[in-house]
């Protein structure tokens, strides 16, 4: 099983937007919505006074989006990619709030959440992800990190990598920047919408009360076999037909 990984040399980027449009076309992302982005930050080290940092889903090893999803629609695959099963997604947006990178959006036509999956739907064609393939500056490198001969494994082995991670909500991103990059502390704290947080409490309650109910009646079933409550005087005793409720 390959383990896919992307490395980005942000110093080469000049924010032409090819990665964004290429991705939108390859993956049916409506224009105006994005699976990936280029951050623009003031940086006096650059002649333009601005540095660019391309990004996308960081394919985290401790993905908070996966934890937030109530329906198992998103998971970290064995191939290193955080995936979404649109057939399981109900578009509740919990994962969108939980992602410190805002790497997810709700697809306006499908109603389900969408994110970078390293162009999984076209991998069988033998072509690199759109953002990698179309980038005129070859900013992004993509490949199987488990294969030591791959370009991505070699860069990872030979160069210093920088990780961009939320200080409040660390997620162990697998996507990394080659050398230094402009800004590393921009990801926000992850948020979990209150109804989704409450679902955990409710589920715990259901687990214990349900167990109590189920095992209670099972216990009662055996109790009645062993020590029946068949005391005739204790059986339902009816009152006259006119009576509503108990006779004193």
């Amino acid at each position: 099983m390959p383990r896919y990984r992307m490395l980005i040399d942000s110093n080469k980027c000049y924010n032409c937007g090819a990665c964004i449009v290429g991705c939108q076309q390859r993956n049916s992302v409506p224009y105006g919505y994005r699976r990936n982005w280029v951050r623009v930050d003031a940086d006096p080290d650059y002649g333009f006074g601005k540095g660019f940092q391309p990004g996308g889903c960081m394919q985290c090893d401790a993905p908070l989006c996966v934890e937030a999803c109530p329906t198992q629609a998103t998971w970290k695959g064995d191939d290193g990619v955080v995936l979404i099963d649109v057939q399981r997604c109900i578009g509740c947006g919990a994962c969108i709030a939980a992602c410190p990178y805002d790497a997810r959006y709700r697809h306006p036509e499908r109603g389900t959440v969408d994110k970078c999956d390293y162009c999984a739907s076209s991998r069988h064609l033998g072509i690199a992800p759109a953002c990698v393939q179309l980038c005129p500056a070859q900013v992004r490198t993509f490949g199987d990190a488990s294969d030591p001969s791959s370009e991505v494994a070699q860069i990872a082995a030979q160069q210093t990598l920088t990780y961009v991670e939320s200080p409040q909500s660390p997620t162990k991103p697998s996507l990394a920047f080659v050398g230094a990059t402009t800004v590393t502390n921009w990801p926000r704290a992850a948020a979990l919408p209150s109804p989704i947080a409450a679902m955990r409490v409710v589920a715990t309650g259901v687990r214990y009360l349900g167990a109590l109910s189920l095992f209670g009646v099972i216990a009662m079933f055996f109790k009645q076999i062993l020590i029946p409550s068949d005391d005739k005087s204790g059986a339902e005793i009816h009152t006259p037909a006119s009576g509503k409720g108990e006779k004193p």
Partner: protein, 718 residues
């Protein structure tokens, strides 16, 4: 009993309802257009981007008769598989809901759909009528404006048709923005293109980007800056604006707009004065050196500093870097051609390189993205139609139209690319019959009598050329909608009716390209078969079948391509190199520094190519936010306008609304705005009246020029 029946009935109805409901929920991962579908193979069709001279090549992945996505060709030595968003927008534009797909004739009651055959018949009738009326004088009464947005075969088909119709007035593509550099290079060196190929930047010691904003105007070529940098080449950028390109250079000189010629002449003067130019080379390879000495003599360091707003020490450092470099390449930006003094500027820069023997050899020379057209077109048309004199340029054509002398005009591109376009609109209304070839509803429909819809790049085969003089090929990927036809078909169908016997027989661009390469000796090796196999295209000329491509310096015999093989510092038809501020500039004699103290410049931005097509792309509109003017914060506050607010950009010729972008990326006193917004764009982010409606009809000897004009920013009242 009744309850049983009803139960069965509602069971059935229930099942149907459940079926319907479950089908309603979108369950397929591959919803919507243009998404790659897992497990499905695609037909792969090769093509190229028809926009800039980078000429990126791509493979379109096609399914169900349509391209679904594009992948740049990794094997392309010039682009390495990169593309920019402009090129990718074609995928969307071909399917655009705004696209016009039926020929239309303007009648008293408005536009009426007609058939393609009727459109052709009507056009032929108009041409024949003009011929009957004007006889041998016909050439003065017909004209065509390029560019045609299709392919080189379309240009050839159109040129042949025009010749047979008697038309010689062909307005070249890029006439208003880039012709100056191309024409000057052609006149002085014998080739209107780069003198070398871009890969040579890796062999230079110094690369000067002279007004060349590579990263924003030809994005995929930024990789050549990176490659040069990696080889230790020093890169200097001359531009009054900090742009994305600034990130890839060692140093930037923020020179005042339109003063590049003064800086170049200052260098010429300096090396002549201190005798550090290559005397032996100049003596052997040039004429009229004394004229140059005279032209450059006024440009002392102090004069240059005063003209360019550069500090003297920066100028000295720049000159020293030039003198110390053994191999210098100059990349001439399109911006140089956009001032009325552009010709003097380009001549002076070429002179700098010639004086230092920096034209011929590896790591030397001049680069320009402004042409790349391989030679041979005129010879081919002459071969088929017989020789014909040259026509007029657009300045003269406009005068002719104003005199009601033009009977038929083929308006292939937007008239809004010409300055004073509002005045031009009135002029165009004086033409007897205007045929517009286009894609969308634009202002051109106001002046056209007949509209015939054209095709986008994916919809026809054909070849094109790029800045490296490389020829690339594309195959047809998908059918055009409605009655849209490629230009080669449209002009061929007219030409066949005009001259059924003489018009070349071809059914596809491939047949015409083959005829072309069989006709011209230099094209023998550029066959369609070979083009199809080459991911980068073929750099011409290739005189022998299977002959090698020749990269690098074009002067392989060490001689200029002038009649005597020498470079002439004096152009007799033009006169000496006299640098003056751009016409209408605050410092120009025609300027009005009191009312218009700011310097206006306009140019391409990353997401726009020309006046129409790119503005109809939602994929590009998403990066845009409407017309803006970039201005230094100090200048903004002097004008009483604030960052983010809408104000008027005013010239002596009109005003346009624009959002203020206050930024230190531009030098004080200068105002920049993008060239290419469109008044009929469906997207607010790209909708703005054409900038040319507030620009004057100023021309140098070759093309229309208006950068450097005086302007002002005015707050909106109330």
């Amino acid at each position: 009993m009744s309850s049983k029946v009803s139960r069965r009935t509602f069971m059935k109805a229930g099942a149907a309802a459940v079926g319907a409901l479950t089908c309603l929920r979108p369950l397929s991962p591959a919803l919507g257009a243009n998404s790659a579908t897992p497990g499905i193979d695609y037909e792969r069709v090769h093509g190229y981007c028809p926009f800039c001279q980078t000429r990126c090549t791509f493979t379109a992945f096609k399914k169900n008769g349509k391209a679904e996505f594009l992948v740049g060709k990794d094997g392309n030595r010039w682009t390495a598989g990169g593309m920019c968003p402009k090129g990718m927008s074609f995928l969307e534009l071909a399917d655009s809901p705004h696209r016009l797909t039926r020929p239309m004739l303007k009648t008293a009651s408005g536009w009426q759909n007609i058939s393609y055959d009727e459109a052709i018949a009507l056009t032929v009738e108009k041409l024949q009528e003009a011929r009957r009326r004007h006889g041998n004088e016909i050439a003065r009464h017909l004209a065509l404006t390029a560019p045609l947005w299709d392919c080189r075969e379309s240009e050839l088909a159109a040129l042949i048709t025009m010749r047979f119709a008697g038309c010689i007035n062909i307005m070249p593509p890029g006439e208003v923005c880039i012709s100056t550099a191309s024409s000057t290079l052609n006149t002085l060196l014998g080739s209107g293109n780069s003198t070398t190929t871009v890969d040579e930047v890796e062999n230079a010691e110094l690369l000067v980007l002279w007004g060349a904003n590579i990263s924003e105007t030809y994005p995929p070529y930024t990789r050549w800056l990176e490659k040069a940098k990696a080889k230790g080449v020093r890169i200097i950028l001359l531009d009054c604006r900090r742009t994305r390109t600034s990130n890839f250079v060692d140093r930037q000189l923020r020179i005042a707009p339109g003063t590049d010629g003064a800086l170049a002449l200052g260098f010429v003067n300096q090396i002549i004065q201190d005798g550090s130019y290559d005397k032996a080379y100049v003596a052997e390879n040039t004429n009229n050196f004394n004229a140059l000495v005279k032209d450059a003599s006024p440009w002392t360091l102090a004069q240059v500093a005063a003209a360019t707003d550069l500090a003297e020490e920066d100028i000295i450092r720049f000159y020293r870097e030039l003198m110390n470099s053994r191999r210098t390449m100059m990349w001439l930006g399109g911006s140089l051609s956009r001032y009325s003094n552009g010709m003097a500027t380009v001549r002076a820069i070429i002179a700098m390189q010639v004086l230092c023997n920096q034209i011929m050899g590896s790591g030397k020379g001049l680069l320009t993205m402004e042409s790349g057209k391989p030679e041979g077109e005129k010879e081919f048309v002459d071969h088929i139609c017989g020789r014909a004199p040259a026509g007029v340029n657009f300045r003269r054509l406009r005068i002719a139209m104003d005199r009601n002398e033009i009977d038929v005009l083929f308006l292939n591109s937007s008239y809004r690319r010409y300055p004073d376009c509002d005045g031009l609109k009135e002029t165009l209304k004086k033409v007897n019959f205007v045929i517009h070839r286009g894609f969308f509803k634009t202002e051109e429909l106001e002046v056209a009598h007949l509209f015939v819809p054209a095709t986008f790049t994916l919809e026809s085969q054909g070849s094109h050329y790029g800045a490296e003089k490389q020829v690339v090929w594309r195959d047809k990927c998908q059918n055009a909608p409605g009655d849209c036809v490629p230009d080669w078909q449209f002009y061929r169908d007219i030409g066949r009716r005009l001259e059924p016997e003489k018009y070349p027989r071809f059914e596809t661009p491939s047949e015409l390209a083959t005829l072309f390469s069989n006709t011209l000796p230099d094209w023998k090796g550029i066959t369609v078969d070979r083009l199809r196999k080459s991911p980068s295209g073929l750099v011409g000329p290739i005189p022998a079948i299977n002959g090698p491509e020749l990269l690098g310096c074009i002067f392989r015999d060490g001689k200029f391509r002038t009649p005597d093989g020498k470079f002439d510092f004096l152009l007799k038809a033009v006169g000496p190199i006299i640098w003056t501020p751009p016409k209408g500039a605050p410092k120009d004699k025609d300027g009005d520094p009191k009312n218009f103290p700011l310097t206006f410049i306009q140019g391409k931005i990353l997401t726009q190519w020309q006046q129409t097509i790119t503005n109809f792309a939602a994929s590009l509109a998403q990066f845009s936010n409407g017309r803006y003017v970039q201005v230094h914060p100090e200048t903004a506050s002097q004008c009483g306008v604030k960052h983010g607010e809408t104000a008027y950009l005013v010239t002596a010729f009109g005003k346009v609304e624009a959002r203020i972008e206050a930024s230190e990326d531009i030098t004080p006193g200068v105002v920049f705005t993008p060239s290419h917004f469109l008044g009929t764009s469906p997207y607010p982010a790209t909708n703005s009246p054409p900038i040319n409606s507030i620009l004057p009809n100023y021309w140098d000897r070759i093309s229309a020029q208006f950068n450097g004009l005086g302007c002002m920013l005015q707050p909106m009242k109330g």
